[in-house]
């Protein structure tokens, strides 16, 4: 195994979960997500030697993934399937929470994800890059090529919508 292989494996294991979740929440299609994630990592292997600094790899990965998602949106008139209702059997219960709490949390999660799913893509992607990508405002600004103030505004809008939905569930 040469250095490129080792580097790739380190990057892959570090980024796979967050990249997968970012693409999944952008598309809500597991098959499509798997295709996109696979393409992104294969492109990374080809471009690994051309990426100058290791810190820009996350940036490169998310930008490429985003481009792939947008390309898919452009080429296909995509219809996003409704998110499946949380199955009671699939709910993970942490040892320190009761079944009622876990079910309630799963219910809240379902409603929030549904809310997120129907948000405008430009708002949703900023939120996902922040929550799943863990990027700073500055990095998101460079990645999407928009002003920091616009990022803050989009994040605020998303959170307001999510909290409004949360209020409806709680009430």
């Amino acid at each position: 195994m040469d250095n490129t292989d080792k580097n790739f494996q380190v990057i892959f294991h570090r980024t796979k979960k967050k990249l997968y979740n970012f693409v999944l929440k952008m598309t809500y299609d597991k098959m499509l997500t798997e295709d996109i994630v696979q393409n992104v990592y294969l492109k990374l292997i080809e471009s690994l030697q051309n990426i100058e600094s290791p810190s820009s790899i996350d940036f490169w990965l998310f930008k490429t993934a985003r481009n792939e998602v947008y390309q898919y949106y452009r080429t296909k008139k995509i219809h996003i399937d409704r998110f499946n209702q949380a199955d009671i059997d699939e709910i993970d219960i942490a040892s320190n929470e009761s079944i009622e709490d876990a079910v309630e949390k799963a219910d809240i999660r379902y409603h929030l994800e549904e809310q997120l799913m129907f948000m405008p893509v430009e708002q949703k992607e900023v939120f996902l890059l922040k929550e799943y990508g863990g990027f700073s405002y500055k990095e998101i600004s460079e990645l999407l090529n928009i002003e920091i103030e616009l990022i803050k505004s989009r994040l605020n809008k998303v959170r307001k919508k999510l909290i409004n939905r949360l209020n409806k569930i709680i009430n």
């Binding site: 892959f12 405002y137 909290i163």
Partner: protein, 153 residues
Amino acid sequence: MDEKLFAKINEFADGELSHQDEIFLFEQLAVDAEARNFFRKINLVRSVLEGSEEEFPPSLEKKILRKAEVTPERNFLFKYTGLAGLVTGIISIILLIISIFLLSEVSDYRKEINSVISQVKAQNKTIEALYNSLPPVDVKAVYSKEIIIKPKI
């Protein structure tokens, strides 16, 4: 709720609030029940969505890692790219052409030398045959003149 405070809560949730602003935010939260409620809900939203992260599918992981092992070998020839790679490639091709040319030249010379050697051998045989065809020669001394030897005292 004040929009400025709302923005500060968001920035705090994003980990982008300065230490000074954090102090200001917590002072405000202490006196503003509505802001506190909003702050609590933002945290609830974050914790709920954090728990919604799905695990990376093991089948996809295997597929990607398997392809990752194959791809570098496939790309071995294209490993050295850029201007230096291009120049190296061109020089290699030129050297290869020169080598092929020299090899063909050497082969021609070898053929010529072989033909010359065979000609020389044939000529040698002819000369030997000519020598062998001549009649034998007897050399006899002629005693027609006397040789007088005088002492010099």
